[in-house]
Symmetry: C3
Subunit: 348 residues, 3 copies
């Protein structure tokens, strides 16, 4: 299935792109090189020199441009060749495709489609996570051996936690919750809520009285292509929800290829915000969960499926799939619409 | 070339499938998961959950069923879904294909074709090997990088031992023997016999007088798909054969894919049956022969052939190929017959 | 693109093929085994036994023949089967293709096409390098992850040294030189010459006064398929050229497959010819340049190009590409001519 092109994709954590250095990453099957101009503005170019087709990231940053490591042509952030040491002229064909790239909330967002359609007002909003103090937030990156839609399916059906992460963020409550799904514009929200239940082990230790019954509520906000915000509240059963433990987490997947993805995760919390030890413990738990529990499962799933078209395989769907299925359907419709518009634009 | 489906294949040594655990193995390109019910009966299921297509072996055994590790659906040995924690009902489509599996002579035999055709009276008979005391038998398993028919060719033409295993079970006698081939029903037998010859090094050390001339006789019984029994007798030249050294060995290959195989070998002997040291020495010799001498040769052969259709390559055949060729022809006829019957059954 | 077949290719350094041993190497996608007869003459056979299709190099040298390691057939240097231990007769079809192979200047040259067209008078001439004393010459071999034409492109456009090897043999002079290209029969020559310039770091240390301006001249002689001779002279600006530092180097690439190559390099010099230390220092510099600087760049280029047809990708060409482009055009014409002649010869 084609990728959605006219969309903001997370390319990197903004601080992965350091002044004077290049970061290179394949997104949607396209090699891209990232760097910063001397004024710190981000730039993203197709990672290929039009002279001899070597990756530009094998070269070096020179002021506001990058120099090809093979024969020294230089390209600025617009992709224009600005230096040719082999001649007094610059061939007009010496250009590299550039991408629209924006820095917001500590994230480098890239627009992979038609530049004139890039709408900065629709950049995803993770300001609530970005405002958390360093001691109440941690971030990670994982390259995963599966299609990005499987990562979205995984996060949209949190009942998997009860089986895959039963020692940490699972425990049975998600499976007992019977989720509710709703659409809000282009977003899909799924809410897992249960009362008089037990808190997952990773949260129970932070309750006033470990083991006490809780009101456990998780809302996942999905937006295309695979950008998810989790808002989790765990409250002792008889307390007002405003006094519960609350965390905001982001799970964002960007396709590398049809069968591999970049997985960015961000965990923040609104309790014990100054406690560095909680921070590092949560980070360790989540890193273990993603790397050693989710990733092998998703990779095995990918290998068995041999396609990114879940519905073609006629899965036996369960009520817990409702959110994941709604998000997949919405994404597929957006891709079909985009493909149809493209066919209309191209004269035949 | 398709695989023969209506046949018993060796899936595993029976004790590889332990109570409370799963064994997973790909056979004939199909992923299969094996487990034991609480009454120790074997079960074999297609290793894929029909919900989200993850391998079932990533889950756990729960009583007489296995639970999917991703979202907890449970399947019994018939492949029926017997538990769904996400709903009060079980979707009727939630089923997994099950296979007929039988335990006999310490071997787990699986029927890969139409279950109603599985004929337990035709299960291969390795009772003679199974009756050997533990100190007179050893078994092994090797995953090999070649098609199963190349393993059968290798065992059916034992003259290779004189070149590939010249320090152990070869020595020249096979090549000098000029073998005899005969068919007995669905079996092909090849007999290598030479008199007044020298014993291979691995046997010579056990003769009353090492270096003395012997009568050396090996009969290989082949049955489809690649199940072989070797009956070897080495007798001092003037003694009655009943007083010679006698061994019964099994070499059994089961396709994993078109280009890889499961190779099971079993060595028993009827001399010095209580001598553990002979046992471990023979095991070491054979393990070395299979792993370091046969396997690299067969893997290189496979890579050079690039097909499993030997005859299409127009090999220069020798008299020593007679048994291997007869077995290949018989197997190919059985496969053609099976494919033809299948076409007849399918209305067009 | 097909390979040029009627051409001499470097198969190996002659001393890689040792008496009593076999060397095996894939050339132009064909597996070839090399050995020496007892009179030290070289032999080259298709590396595949026509009996069971195992590589002959898994066997052993027996006098003037090689014995297959699987069942013992023997083949002489003409490819004729000369021993069959399984029968009193030798099947007439038991033959292996043999190749014309010649030893000259310490190099084993093989003719990959029609044997009757092999013209020994056109063997490449590296006698000038072969006459250098051992202390003034060093040789190397590298298997590279790219098509052989990319290696020729690399050597024909030495301006890459200023960017890829700036610490050793580059430094800027090549890029400033503005090269001249000429054809001499089937050869392409490219000359990089600059006066009043600085010597590359690897040469500057050997000048009478390091840092002084020099006259730097490099002539690269290319012949098909990818055989290159570099003649480099560096002279203090006001001295006669005959008193400069002079080196003769060979860079020879032979295709292994469409995407991998054998790279042979040979460095000789005509200054300080008895200084072993200079020799080992030059060898270390060049080994590092090829392995750690050129090879990763060429491999990345190959992966990005996904074809061996440079012109199909519409590269933005620069004046410094002139020699490489001329050589590619000439080679492509030779291949087209050869393919056309082949079609004429084959009756339809």
């Amino acid at each position: 299935m084609p990728f959605l092109e006219n969309a903001w994709y997370m390319a990197a954590w903004a601080d992965e792109i350091k002044p004077g250095e290049m970061l290179h990453r394949k997104l949607l099957n396209r090699p891209i090189v990232f760097f910063r101009r001397s004024d710190m503005q981000l730039a993203a170019l197709h990672d290929l020199c039009p002279h001899r087709f070597v990756p530009l990231h094998l070269g070096r940053v020179k002021g506001d441009a990058i120099e090809c490591g093979y024969h020294g042509l230089q390209f600025d952030c617009s992709g224009r060749c600005v230096a040719n040491p082999h001649s007094d002229t610059i061939p007009s064909a010496a250009r590299v495709k550039s991408y629209v790239i924006e820095e917001k909330d500590g994230i480098a967002w890239i627009w992979m489609g038609e530049p004139s359609l890039a709408d900065r007002t629709r950049l995803p909003d993770f300001s609530r996570l970005h405002s958390a103090p360093p001691s109440a937030g941690s971030r990670g990156y994982l390259r995963t051996g599966c299609n990005y839609k499987l990562i979205a399916d995984n996060v949209m059906d949190l009942s998997h936690a009860d089986f895959v992460h039963s020692d940490s963020v699972g425990g049975g409550a998600f499976t007992r919750a019977r989720p509710q799904v709703a659409e809000h514009g282009d977003e899909v929200h799924i809410t897992w809520e249960c009362k008089h239940d037990s808190a997952p082990p990773a949260y129970d230790r932070h309750m006033p009285e470990p083991g006490q019954p809780v009101h456990f509520r998780t809302v996942v906000h999905w937006q295309a292509p695979a950008i998810m915000h989790l808002d989790i509240t765990i409250t002792p059963q008889n307390d007002p929800q405003s006094e519960g433990l609350r965390t905001d987490n982001a799970h964002i997947a960007t396709p590398e290829t049809e069968t591999t993805s970049h997985y960015f995760y961000w965990l923040t919390r609104r309790f014990c915000v100054d406690d560095e030890e909680i921070n590092s413990r949560r980070q360790a738990i989540m890193h273990n969960a993603f790397s050693n529990e989710d990733e092998p499962m998703l990779r095995a799933q990918q290998q068995a499926m041999e396609t990114d078209d879940l519905f073609a395989l006629k899965p036996v769907l369960l009520p817990s799939d409702a959110g994941a299925v709604r998000a997949r359907r919405k994404l597929e419709q957006m891709i079909r619409d985009e493909q149809a518009a493209r066919r209309t634009q191209t004269p035949t």
